[in-house]
Symmetry: C2
Subunit: 325 residues, 2 copies
């Protein structure tokens, strides 16, 4: 599997320009806002979304100023939504450090997120490109709808695969889709290229989320994320949904009965649910889904001729599926 640095190689010069531009955008007059922005910037993670913007743009044409702006805006939208999600989900840590609402307060987290969202609109507005603006505004609605859809059904052992798909479509796939689509648009792509990259981005996002959800049922040593953490938060994801569906009703009922107070569940209960998922191959089913999505995503890229950029996008799919954190 290629590393992120290797995948980034064909857009290395552009990446440095993006980083400089991003740094300039993260300045604020408000000292508290500035502290929060710095805090987030110092824990910026792998920044896969701006990478996708740059790759999608350059696959079509040389990148433009609009490309950098789009990359910064979408990364900021992503971060704003994480800051709000951590308040909503009461998650204490993010990328190995205290979440913003823990480091400061819920108040600061809500307002800093709002400030970042407003900044995103400003960045996009200044581009004067209505199509990119529409992509971003549609994305904003999808992200909050996705979280709301998850809240609506709540932490229920009764959600089915269809509902799961709907949530991850809104919560994760749309963001990757927007990165690829707006990236392409920022470089002045054709309609055919735009449609292809949009679909690629969507499928990459689905793989990314499913992989994240499989981590709960992997072995502790391998991965960066604490195992069973989603389950402890009451999040029922694809591997468990499938196992519940495949198991005889009596067994499924016993597992469902454990689902109350999962946040206080002892390790034995969590381990029991994990064994249940593995016994009915819920994790394997999820892997199969990713592989199908990867195949479709690769096909979507077939409208482009072979190039190091196209290769990098295929490596990014592999990365999403095979990463260990």
């Amino acid at each position: 599997m290629a590393t992120i640095s290797e995948i980034r190689r064909p857009v290395e010069a552009e990446w440095r320009q993006f980083e400089r531009y991003q740094h300039d955008c993260l300045q604020s007059d408000n000292p508290l806002q500035q502290e929060v922005l710095n805090y987030i910037a110092q824990r910026s993670g792998k920044q896969l979304r701006p990478l996708l913007v740059l790759l999608a743009a350059k696959l079509c044409n040389p990148v433009t100023d609009k490309t950098f702006r789009t990359a910064v805006a979408l990364e900021m939208l992503h971060n704003a939504s994480l800051v709000h999600d951590d308040v909503v989900d009461s998650s204490d840590t993010r990328r190995g450090a205290p979440a913003v609402h823990i480091r400061w307060s819920n108040k600061v987290a809500v307002l800093a997120g709002d400030y970042m969202l407003a900044k995103v609109i400003g960045l996009v507005a200044e581009m004067r490109n209505i199509r990119i603006l529409e992509i971003v505004s549609q994305l904003g609605r999808s992200l909050s709808s996705g979280e709301l859809a998850q809240l609506h059904v709540g932490q229920s052992m009764w959600i089915d695969e269809e509902h799961y798909n709907r949530v991850i479509e809104l919560k994760t796939a749309r963001l990757f889709q927007a990165c690829a689509e707006a990236g392409a648009e920022s470089a002045g792509c054709t309609q055919r290229q735009r449609t292809a990259l949009r679909e690629y981005g969507r499928l990459l996002g689905l793989c990314f989320q499913i992989k994240d959800d499989i981590f709960d049922y992997s072995d502790l040593e391998e991965i960066g994320k604490p195992t069973m953490s989603d389950l402890r938060d009451g999040k029922v994801t694809l591997p468990l949904i499938i196992a519940l569906q495949r198991a005889p009703e009596s067994e499924a009922a016993a597992i469902r009965a454990m689902s109350e107070h999962l946040d206080e569940a002892d390790p034995r209960t969590l381990q029991e649910i994990k064994s249940f998922v593995l016994r009915f191959h819920g994790d394997e089913y999820a892997v199969q889904r990713m592989l199908e999505y990867k195949k479709q995503a690769t096909e979507a890229l077939s409208v482009f001729r072979d190039s190091p950029i196209r290769e990098a996008l295929i490596q990014l799919l592999d990365y999403a599926i095979n990463r260990v954190q």
Copy 2:
């Protein structure tokens, strides 16, 4: 003083169109989101901001579809920011009913606010008017910065008039300013008209906020808002700032010493602070500020010839200053 219905009269037909348009915009696929939108719509208050949009537009030219869209977008932005502010300030009621975060949860309030913000961008994006978009995006930054500036200094008896002015400028004046400016823009105004209405809106907003802050020091019987409620939340506003500045240092120090744990203060302490403000005429000073702003706002309107619409805008200033709730 003219009532809101009277002020609305010269745009009565347009108001009905706005209400129909707003109703259509408040539809969502997500059942929970729909419930929240309905809940807010049923408690919509006086809707002064869309009224200002319509009046400002029609003062320049006949209103357009863009005017209705602007009115809906800015009212929704206002409501989204109230929903988030109530989470941030832990305010339990809004317009006499439980706040969204109390009726549902903080989670729902954060996400429903985000959804509404995204919807605002969508509404504005579809207008394809870059100037309105810039007004709205700048406004979004001002609103969150204003709340953050308030948080940053916090609940301090040491804030001065300058800081107070900066906060109300960002928190309230910019919204009224944006309504008047974007309203004018939506009807295709001249640059001169736009500048005049922008200034009028700003000053109207300042009057509106100062009046709100004076309520704390009025008599309970007269007004709709529970008296001393800001003070109990630790919010130090203009009347108290001025009294603290005018009083001999020993007296001011005694009042400042009471400022710890105001949320648990007994009625006698609150009453003492109120008497202090009245004794040093902090409330009268605030009234003087409003009257100066009203004068400036009326002057700003002098670029327009006399008309029922211009008259309504002047009545709106009187309403902001003299209302009892």
